[in-house]
């Protein structure tokens, strides 16, 4: 059990939790820095990487003059110029594949794809080349690249801009899948991802860009092998990642008021999954709720549940619960969209079922 070592540098709290619960205080040896946002943290991560390594460049649709479709790369064009902040045409397969080629040829590309739904236009390159070349070439050709994209719902963007398909990508051997859910992770995951000799996909939940909070002052690097315990607890383990960390923390606060002490684990890394942290927690709490904005069938939540059933079946005191999105293409209208997404009340109810 190493989870204590990775216990939350949760100096920042995402989404719903930001308004309903106080931030976990930072460890005393780290002074809080000025307020920042998830978007700015991502930008500073990119800036830092580009300053540290001149092989790094950013490529994607509207990353330059427009400033990034979600504003992440605003200002970077002025600092680094059009060669390293490279606007592309709407050619997802071409520019993702070109990232692969550039990585094979000694550069360290960061490729931005506007949303996970659009990444399907580049799925051939991601699956058949980036994830496959190392094996298919008998270990000769590794692909050190990072692909960033927005994922998730909550902004009334309907069914072609709102899905959570990171679980699909987590199915693919050869990829590493990261889901930063906090300001520190937004900043601190990119550099280690760029040090990975193999392709890394970073999924940024669209509802997190405006999340504000304090970043830890010395910008700790993230261990991209490990999940993080965002809230310690003894009665039930709530496992989540990315955009649903906020609602899960909010649910944990509601549960606390009802005398249920929930432990919240942020997976952070969907592939390879950190079984040790999850199983370690379930071994303490004996109850598990998995919260996943993806669809339930064949989902990441199913994988987590299966692994716990395989590895800690006799530790469980109750059936595993899952809280996922409704199995519909994401609707536009706010009330319909909200009804489709995991909500704190759903998580609270699921947790109560495990402890009752």
């Amino acid at each position: 059990m190493t989870r204590t070592a990775h216990r939350a540098t949760a100096a920042t709290t995402p989404r719903a939790a930001a308004t309903t619960s106080p931030a976990t205080p930072p460890p005393p040896d780290r002074a809080p820095a000025a307020q920042t946002s998830y978007r700015e943290a991502l930008r500073e991560g990119i800036r830092e990487a580009m300053l540290r390594d001149d092989r790094v460049f950013l490529m994607g649709e509207d990353v330059g003059r427009y400033g990034g479709s979600f504003g992440v790369s605003k200002g970077l064009l002025d600092q680094f110029g059009p060669d390293r902040i490279r606007d592309t045409p709407l050619s997802e397969s071409a520019f993702v594949g070109m990232g692969i080629g550039a990585a094979l040829n000694g550069l360290r590309p960061i490729v931005e794809v506007m949303t996970v739904n659009f990444s399907l236009l580049a799925l051939d390159q991601i699956m058949n080349n980036a994830a496959t070349l190392l094996h298919m070439s008998g270990g000769q050709l590794n692909v050190p690249m990072v692909i960033r994209m927005t994922t998730g719902a909550g902004r009334q963007l309907a069914a072609q801009h709102s899905h959570s398909l990171e679980g699909w990508y987590a199915h693919i051997p050869g990829l590493r899948i990261l889901t930063p859910a906090t300001i520190d992770d937004a900043r601190g995951m990119l550099w280690p991802a760029l040090q990975d000799p193999d392709p890394v996909l970073i999924f940024e939940h669209g509802s997190l860009y405006n999340l504000t909070g304090a970043a830890t002052a010395d910008h700790p690097q993230v261990d991209i092998d490990k999940a993080a315990v965002r809230r310690p607890g003894h009665d039930v383990t709530l496992v989540t990642y990315g955009g649903t960390l906020g609602v899960t923390l909010a649910a944990a606060e509601q549960l606390a008021a009802q005398n249920v002490d929930a432990e919240v684990i942020d997976l952070r890394v969907l592939r390879p999954l950190d079984d040790e942290t999850v199983v370690g927690s379930v071994t303490q709490t004996h109850r598990l709720v998995v919260v996943d904005e993806g669809w339930r069938s064949g989902s990441l939540s199913a994988e987590v549940a299966a692994r716990v059933a395989e590895q800690a079946f006799y530790e469980l005191d109750a059936p595993i619960e899952r809280v996922c999105s409704a199995e519909v293409p994401m609707p536009y209208a706010r009330h319909l969209e909200q009804a489709a997404l995991p909500a704190p009340a759903d998580i609270v109810a699921a947790a109560h079922r495990t402890v009752s």
């Binding site: 460049f57 060669d83 592309t88 045409p89 050619s91 397969s93 071409a94 520019f95 993702v96 594949g97 070109m98 990232g99 692969i100 080629g101 550039a102 990585a103 094979l104 040829n105 000694g106 550069l107 590309p109 051939d124 390159q125 058949n128 080349n129 070349l133 190392l134 094996h135 298919m136 070439s137 008998g138 270990g139 000769q140 050709l141 590794n142 051997p173 050869g174 040090q195 990975d196 000799p197 193999d198």
Partner: protein, 345 residues
Amino acid sequence: MTTLLPPAASNYTDGDAPAGINAGNDPMARALREMMRIRRFEETCVELYSASRIRGFLHLCIGEEAIAVGLMGCLTKQDAVVSTYREHGHAIARGMPMAVVLAEMFGKQTGCSRGRGGSMHLFDKDLRFYGGNAIVGGGLPVAAGLALADRMRGDNRITACIFGDGALAEGEFHEVANLAALWNLPVLFCCENNQYAMGTALAREHANTDLALRAASYSMVAWAVDGMDADAVAAAVRRASDLVRNGGGPCFLEMRTYRFRAHSMYDPDLYRDKPEIEEWKKRDPIPALSDRLRSSGALDDATVQKWEKEIAAEIATAVATAEAAAPESVTDLTRFVYSEPSDRS
């Protein structure tokens, strides 16, 4: 812009081409010998397939050897090559030893991809031979990315990207052609137009069958070449690669050719007329060049016979070497999914 450029005066010269060619000083004689090596190698693969020594898909380039030899002879060792699943000829002409290619198809440790790729996925990092890609069009973005890195660093080298006529029906071709021209990338697009996308004839797959013309619409220099003539291919590649290497942006060569055998060993070849095949066989690049060299006095029968013997011996040795190698160990099955710790920086 298309099909109008006359061949330049330059002829096949193999500069610092990879080793493997040994046929005296006449570059065209060397090209002939190299085509013979590839032809005999492919014929051997048929025998090995029939004997169940090679399995999976096997796509042969018999009839198309002039492109492999004409192209590779004009690239430098520093250039990169991205190829297709019909790539034995390209790999051998680039300098990959026959034994390594065969060992790959036998699933041996000494195979270039340690038995994980097979016929369709030959790779050699040292030769800058980046596959062996079996998704039609899938290699094009990778080739453009290799070229992008060279351009960003200012390296004076080019990437030759080989694909078939079928790839022009894929969206990836059009995305990449546009981007390569827009960014002035040093890519030499080498379209092996063998008239069929698997079993679908050119006119049944393309509204406009002038492939060079279509490439030219992306603001790149493009023209068609006789892909059954190694000399013509080499002349075109030399001219195009000079342009690409000197910052002229990408270039597109439509090399018109024909495969004499079926698409793969699985293909009963029911979609082509025998007379059509026979008509193209009259343009077989090997006898055509051999006759030309003989009539000019540059080649005699004794030399050809000597080459046949040397090539037969080379192939026999390669087969024996590959057969004798150890199979890739099942205990290593899960290697090379992620880089190993020693690869981590």
